[in-house]
Subunit: 170 residues, 2 copies
C-alpha cells in the first residue's frame, strides 16, 4: 500500500495541480492581469507564496519516495529557481516522471526503514511514521494551500479539480 | 495500514484542530472581536465557511472509517447544527471518541470491500480506492482549508500545529 499511497496517488494529485494551473492561466488572461501576480500570491504575509507551495509539495513527494525506497542519491536536483508558469509546469512534470520510475518492490522494506533528514539532527522516524505522519499530511497541506491561494484569488476551481477522476465502477 | 491511516492519524489531526481553535479563541480575545467572525470566515464567497470545513472534515473521518469497516449503521449522527466554538469542539471530540472504538481487525477486509454512498447513484469504489483517492485527500483538504482560513485571518498558527508531535527516536 505504501507504493499506492505515494506513487500513483501523489502523481495523480500533481497532475491535478497542472489542470488547476491551466485554470489560473485562463483566469489571468480573461481578467487581463499578469499571471506572475498569482504565482507570488499568498494567504498571509508570512506564509510561502504559490510558487513555493508547489515547490514544497514537489519536494515532499520526491524526497518522500526517495527516502522510503532508500534511493535519495538518485533523486533529481531541483534548485527552486522557478519563476514562470512554464517552469512550474516543468518542475511538476519532472517529479511525476521521477515518481514513475518506482516499482512496488522499491518499497518492500519501507515501513520498517529508519528515516532521517538533515534538519532532524540525528533523530529518526520509522518509514511508516514518516509516510503517514509527515509525508502525507505535508503533501496534501501544500497542494491544498496552492489550491486555496488560487481559489481565494477568484480562479474557478472546485473540489473535483483537486480530487481528479475517481475510478468508479457501475 | 488502513487502520493506521484512518484511526490514529486522523484522530491526531482532529486533536491538532482543537489546538488550532484554541489559538483562534486567544486571537479573538486579544484583538477583542467576536470569535463567531472567524467561525463564519471563508477564503472565497462561494466556499464553505470555517464551521462547515470542520463539519466536513469530521464527517469524512467518521464515514470513511464507518464505511471501510462496514459499520455505517453504528456511526453517531451529527446534524451540522454547530454555531459556537464549544459546539465545534464537542463535534470534533465526538468523532475522536468514535474513531477510538475501531480496532485493526475492523479493517481486515476493507481494501477489497465495494464502497458506495448515496450521491454516487449506485457506482462504487474498492475500499483501497475510496481510502486513498477520496477519504485521505478530502480529509486533509478540509483540515488544511480550516487552518488556511484562520492563518489568513491572522491567527498565529504554524505548520507544527497542523502536523502535531512526531514520534522521533534519538
Amino acid at each position: 500500500m505504501i507504493y499506492q499511497i505515494i506513487i500513483p496517488q501523489f502523481s495523480k494529485m500533481l497532475g491535478n495541480l497542472l489542470t488547476i494551473f491551466d485554470r489560473a492561466a485562463m483566469h489571468a488572461e480573461t481578467k487581463k492581469f499578469e499571471l506572475e501576480v498569482l504565482l507570488h500570491a499568498r494567504l498571509a504575509p508570512d506564509q510561502f507564496d504559490l510558487i513555493r507551495q508547489v515547490q514544497v509539495a514537489c519536494d515532499t513527494a520526491k524526497l518522500g519516495a526517495a527516502r522510503l525506497a532508500d534511493k535519495e542519491q538518485d533523486a533529481p536536483s531541483h534548485p527552486d529557481t522557478e519563476q514562470s508558469l512554464a517552469e512550474i509546469r516543468m518542475r511538476i512534470q519532472s517529479v511525476i516522471t521521477y515518481l514513475g520510475t518506482f516499482s512496488e518492490a522499491d518499497f518492500a522494506h519501507a515501513a520498517e526503514r529508519r528515516i532521517t533528514q538533515p534538519r532532524w539532527k540525528g533523530k529518526s522516524l520509522s518509514g511508516q511514521e514518516f509516510l503517514l505522519q509527515h509525508v502525507v499530511p505535508n503533501f496534501y497541506f501544500h497542494v491544498t494551500t496552492a489550491y486555496a491561494i488560487l481559489r481565494h484569488n477568484g480562479v474557478e476551481v472546485g473540489k473535483k479539480d483537486y480530487l481528479g477522476e475517481l475510478p468508479y465502477k457501475e
